[in-house]
């Protein structure tokens, strides 16, 4: 059976959120256009949803990005009742189909964290973030592949196989939210949820040429999100543009009594500078800092060129761009990997094969502890075991002070580094990744090299800061992503910075989605 990419669009470049070449400057593009078309009725919600379901099941599956829809009986499309589709388009998210990372629970769907150990775990309840998005009218149509328990930067650590980058199927989409990023990039859905512990939303967004937001720590409830490293994990959004991310954040943010780490502060409301007509003023007199260690870092030529171009854009808009010293930043990688592995070793101790988990290994008569050990050894993947053991070491007697506690102290110094810079600057700019998407299989034998992929995204995670990745250029037919980091709780600044750029005539907008869908389909051997 040939999977159908799109029953509703002959050419994927006619996707409602793409910007065709002939379109006039000043007209709506991206998520705004999608909203406007749904509202005016020029785009049928029914067709949009059908497209998303069939594209996720067809192209999404051939890219390795979609997992089985998740329901034990039936599939995602039957989940979306006719009633839901008839809902009035009241909120900007009404009738918007979205994909869900396999890390976030949806009641009755399988939520496996891309691990064998949870292969038949059906969620008994839904995550707060998902519930809120659905209450705003959005429709969950697919479950996306990821690195096992969020541990990876290339999506090659999934028990269900790797994901291919729609821009070039021999390359990684990034990780760990690689499936979510690939589905948005390939035009299957305009919105997807991911999670970001050290860059797992932003790095795949950069590698796939889409926009990815990691909010401040505590902005979105983690209730119903499978834990990797609790002091770092945050739900994030991937979308066709910053406006889409902003609308999803509005719906999901806010206090939740079921998560003690979720902040009690006000929910997020996006101030739309485009609608207010003040976007031209945004960059005037903005002060933007680039950390010296990043400015001096070795990076791919294409990334360096995109980085420079973008700085020129900022200066032309009237912004000041300075290189600043952040002396602790080079230690962020070590701090991150000691803290995240320590927290993971504790969080993942719950997978003992008693309360939940794969039922395969129960037919033996081993004593309990041996059985637990066997169950874990057989069902966790290699990288997960490596991190559990590294974390166990960092927390173990005799090494706790020198590793875990030391890392936590340096983490505070890194946070103070950021606070100091934000006293004189509005935003921090870095490339999201120093390199273009690398080839699949290129570095999964070298964990240290793989860990290095996260060097630009990790610092904001350690300090709990909001950060956004957005495409700024294409280098050698692969996308280049920029990252803005904003002060704590100031998602507005990061989102507006990306939004204003994406809506400006100079802005590189990922309207390639259409061509990409065709290209990826051809490479994967799926016929449109």
């Amino acid at each position: 059976m040939k999977p159908e990419i799109s029953s509703t669009w002959k050419r994927a470049s006619e996707l409602p959120w793409s910007r065709s070449a002939g379109e006039q400057a000043g007209s709506l593009v991206g998520f705004r256009k999608l909203n406007a078309d749904l509202k005016s009725g020029s785009l049928s919600a029914d067709k949009l949803c059908q497209h998303a379901v069939s594209a996720c099941a067809g192209l999404g599956k051939s890219l390795g990005a979609s997992l089985e829809p998740g329901k034990i009986s039936g599939n995602a499309s039957s989940d979306i009742s006719a009633n839901e589709l008839k809902k009035e388009s009241k909120t900007p998210l009404a009738q918007i189909p979205f994909a869900l990372k396999d890390f976030i629970l949806k009641k009755d769907w399988v939520s496996s964290a891309a691990s064998k150990i949870l292969s038949d775990f059906r969620a008994p309840y839904s995550a707060t973030c998902l519930e809120r998005l659905e209450n705003a009218g959005a429709l969950c149509v697919a479950r996306t592949n990821m690195d096992e328990f969020g541990m990876g930067s290339s999506n090659e650590n999934s028990a269900w196989g790797n994901v291919k980058n729609p821009w070039d199927t021999s390359r990684t989409p990034g990780g760990s939210s690689g499936g979510s990023a690939a589905l948005v990039a390939a035009g299957c859905v305009p919105l997807a949820l991911g999670t970001d512990t050290g860059g797992s939303v932003r790095q795949p967004a950069a590698f796939c040429g889409v926009t990815g937001l990691k909010p401040s720590y505590g902005r979105i409830s983690r209730y119903g999100v499978i834990s990797f490293a609790s002091s770092l994990d945050q739900v994030g959004v991937l979308s066709v543009d910053a406006f889409g991310c902003a609308k999803a954040l509005e719906a999901m943010s806010g206090e939740d009594a079921r998560d003690g780490t979720c902040s009690k502060k006000e929910s997020f409301v996006y101030k739309d500078l485009i609608a207010a007509g003040t976007s031209k003023e945004f960059y005037k007199a903005k002060r933007i800092a680039i950390p010296r260690s990043i400015a001096q870092a070795q990076m791919d030529d294409e990334v360096a060129a995109g980085f420079k171009d973008f700085q020129d854009f900022l200066k032309n808009q009237g912004a000041t761009v300075d290189v600043v010293d952040m002396p602790l930043l080079p230690h962020a990688l070590s701090v991150y990997y000691l803290i995240c592995t320590s927290e993971a070793s504790s969080n993942l101790s719950r997978y003992n094969g008693v309360h939940l988990g794969a039922s395969g290994a129960i037919d033996d008569n081993l004593p309990l502890h041996q059985r637990i050990t066997k169950f874990r050894s057989e069902n966790f993947g290699e990288e997960v075991k490596r991190r559990i053991l590294l974390g166990t070491f960092a927390l173990s007697s005799g090494y706790y002070d020198a590793y875990f506690k030391k890392a936590a102290r340096v983490r505070r110094l890194i946070q103070q580094d950021f606070e100091r810079v934000f006293q004189s600057y509005d935003l921090i700019l870095t490339p999201t990744s120093l390199e273009l998407p690398f080839k699949l299989g290129e570095r999964n034998r070298d964990p240290l090299k793989m860990y290095n992929s996260d060097v630009c995204t990790i610092p904001a995670s350690l300090a709990g800061l909001p950060a956004i990745s957005f495409p700024c250029a294409v280098g050698g037919s692969l996308p280049v992503g920029m990252q803005f980091i904003a002060p704590y709780w100031n998602e507005q600044e990061a989102l507006a910075a990306a939004d204003v750029y994406q809506q400006s005539p100079e802005g590189y907008f990922p309207y390639l989605a259409g061509e990409l869908t065709d290209k990826a389909a051809a490479q994967s051997g799926v016929k449109p």
């Binding site: 003690g260 902040s263 230690h331 701090v335 101790s349 505070r412």
Partner: protein, 100 residues
């Protein structure tokens, strides 16, 4: 920390993981390499710096203690591999003499 040494057998026992001999040797050397790469951390002066364990440090996480509908017993047990009479069923916990 030049005196750092990894007893991979102890770590495996603590983490309830059991790797084949060869894999375990390789893993030990990978972990040593990772720790070596992290060595520079020890040179950072952290005298008097309080560890940062969580971003929302000041938050008081207690809520009012009131009865609410939660998951039913069946919903919770649905995910368990082995269930008996509405409870989790465990394998034997006692070990025969002579058994490991």
């Amino acid at each position: 920390m030049s005196e750092t040494s990894i007893d991979i057998a102890v770590l495996q026992r603590l983490a309830a993981l059991d790797l084949p001999e060869q894999e375990s040797r390789e893993l030990r050397s990978t972990l040593m390499k990772i720790l070596d790469a992290f060595e520079a951390l020890q040179d950072v002066d952290t005298e008097g710096v309080e560890p940062l364990y969580n971003i929302n440090e000041s938050q008081f996480a207690l809520r009012e203690d009131k009865v609410e509908q939660s998951l039913t017993r069946d919903e919770v047990l649905r995910s368990a591999p082995l269930v008996s009479d509405g409870s989790y069923k465990l394998r034997r916990m006692l070990v025969k003499s002579g058994e490991k």
